[in-house]
Symmetry: C2
Subunit: 333 residues, 2 copies
């Protein structure tokens, strides 16, 4: 029940997710006194599928992860992850401190055999009305070539299991398409991926290809992934706000203003699939359970989308699928 | 006379630049037979300020920079840089092989005292109708903290001299605003910048702040800068193309279609300042002369803008200004 806005966003979002998915059950971990006012308006039928698990402390959004983890006992984030660890919940969704969530998840839910470090993954819409799996988005600021290869494998499993793409194309994000380009770890990862039979590796792609649909999976280190995603969000928000404020000036006829406004709304809708709120929720891939990180500043709708992402990951058995794929690769070696 | 399209873009762009700047003189280095057909249509008055310098070879856009540099004698790129080296030209503008241009420029025009490696810099428009200096955009895939500090100093000089901003704010691009975030070289650079009296260092900013105008100078390593800029370009082009194709469907009244098209044009104009063509041309900062790299795929207008960037850099005496600033810093140490 963390994030920048706390229960006033996450509780209504939970009710929204329950309403749109009749098979969903939710455990809200947090301060009952803070949560209950927002439940008062909930429909009794929905509330039957919701349970509050008390936790009287939260990890601050700006806390240093290492310190926060040491002092995490009894916090809502830790209790939520422990519920997954104990099999009492199938997934954990949090809008809280990213570093603490990753560290605690790694500690409690454990990485799969063959995975050094989990990675944050999201699914971006692309021009061809398809979607592109992108990872790592910030779990690991520095990555070895082996980690990049593991990300590629996990991304391919996601693209197959969740997006239904057979033989998904996998690319490494780089600053040029020639083999000699980029950083040493990327070049080594490319050499490994090129000869790996279980993966459809297509080579390097550049930043401008994130939205073109040239690849189904785009792999990068967490620093680059984080900066790239945030840059993209910044540009999209800039456009959407320009679109809103660019209404026809005061000099125009009333009918022109009405038509203008109608067209602007239409455009905003058409561009809406690029709005960061529409693809909120980054999965922490490579763990023995499902953990989804929501944007800290997510609004109600965006947080509900993050919950839905967790549902999908559970339904498609992403952790099991990744484990199976890793076993195939490890056996072949 | 290189780039993806060659003289058919660069020659008309040169004529355009000559027409809009009556004090400009241009030397076109390349194959006279390839250049002259495009000069045939030029106004005689403009052609008086233009001279063709023969070069029968070019460096291929996809050549390996190290090999290209070794075999560069007699190529148009090398001859153009030699003209600057010999004081026969005040600046060199190229749309050719980026790696070769940087390597050759470093070799022939030499870095300033106190600069380890030059950096590619561009000026992006921001929301507050201001502009933000961003570097490095790809000259150095790996950067030490000392290099990042040098980039910060050079960026500040650019913001002062070209954008006329007194005490420009300087930020480091990172994945969070807290001091503990990011890579080691960035944290060390932050520690140095924080105590440097000649620089107005404001801390870390994230990718979504590239366009918000929160800083006048944004510093990052060349890998991150390149991916970021290309991501931004990709998103902007995506939007502009969506804008073009989102015309009202065939079912609508003729007058609605006309109004739609008018509104779309208006919007495209308003968003146009974010169009990559409008800020083409990255300056190679830190050299004893002016070198501007144009986008390889630049169109005529964009290449003319790159030429204009070179003119500005010469007029504002950027290399001398950077040298003076470096001397102040080195003396204070």
């Amino acid at each position: 029940m963390g994030g920048d806005f706390g229960p006033c966003v996450t509780v209504p979002a939970s009710l929204q997710a329950l309403a749109s998915n009749p098979r969903l059950h939710l455990l809200l971990v947090g301060d009952p006194d803070a949560i209950s006012p927002f439940l008062a308006k909930g429909e009794p039928l929905l509330l039957q599928r919701l349970q509050v698990v008390p936790a009287d402390r939260v990890i601050a959004s700006d806390a240093r992860p290492s310190q926060a983890i040491r002092a995490s006992r009894g916090t809502s984030m830790r209790i939520a992850l422990e519920l997954v660890q104990q099999g009492l919940a199938e997934a954990c969704v949090s809008a809280g401190n990213t570093g603490a969530l990753m560290g605690l998840a790694n500690l409690l839910i454990k990485p799969l055999a063959g995975i050094e470090r989990p990675a944050l993954m999201t699914v971006l819409p692309n021009r061809q009305r398809g979607r592109t799996v992108v990872l790592d988005l910030g779990a690991n600021v520095e990555c070895s070539s082996a980690m990049l290869v593991q990300f590629a494998l996990m991304g391919a499993v996601m693209a197959e299991a969740v997006l239904g793409i057979a033989q998904p194309r996998v690319a490494l994000l780089n600053i040029g398409e020639e083999e000699s380009k980029g950083l040493e770890n990327i070049r080594s990862a490319a050499a490994i991926l090129k000869v790996m039979p279980t993966i459809n590796y297509i080579g390097y792609l550049e930043g401008n290809d994130l939205l073109t649909g040239k690849t189904d999976v785009m792999v990068c280190d967490g620093f680059v992934g984080n900066v790239t995603l945030k840059t993209m969000e910044g540009v999209v928000r800039e456009f959407l706000s320009l679109l809103k404020t660019s209404s026809a000036g005061g000099q125009q006829a009333w009918w022109l203003k009405i038509v203008s406004r109608w067209l602007q709304k239409k455009l905003a809708r058409q561009l809406g699939h690029l709005n960061p709120d529409q693809y909120n929720g980054a999965c922490l891939l490579g763990l023995r359970g499902t953990v989804v990180k929501s944007h800290g500043a997510a609004n109600q709708n965006a947080f509900a989308i993050a919950i839905e992402q967790a549902v999908q990951a559970v339904q498609r058995q992403i952790p099991d699928n990744i484990a199976a794929r890793l076993e195939t690769v490890l056996t072949q070696e």
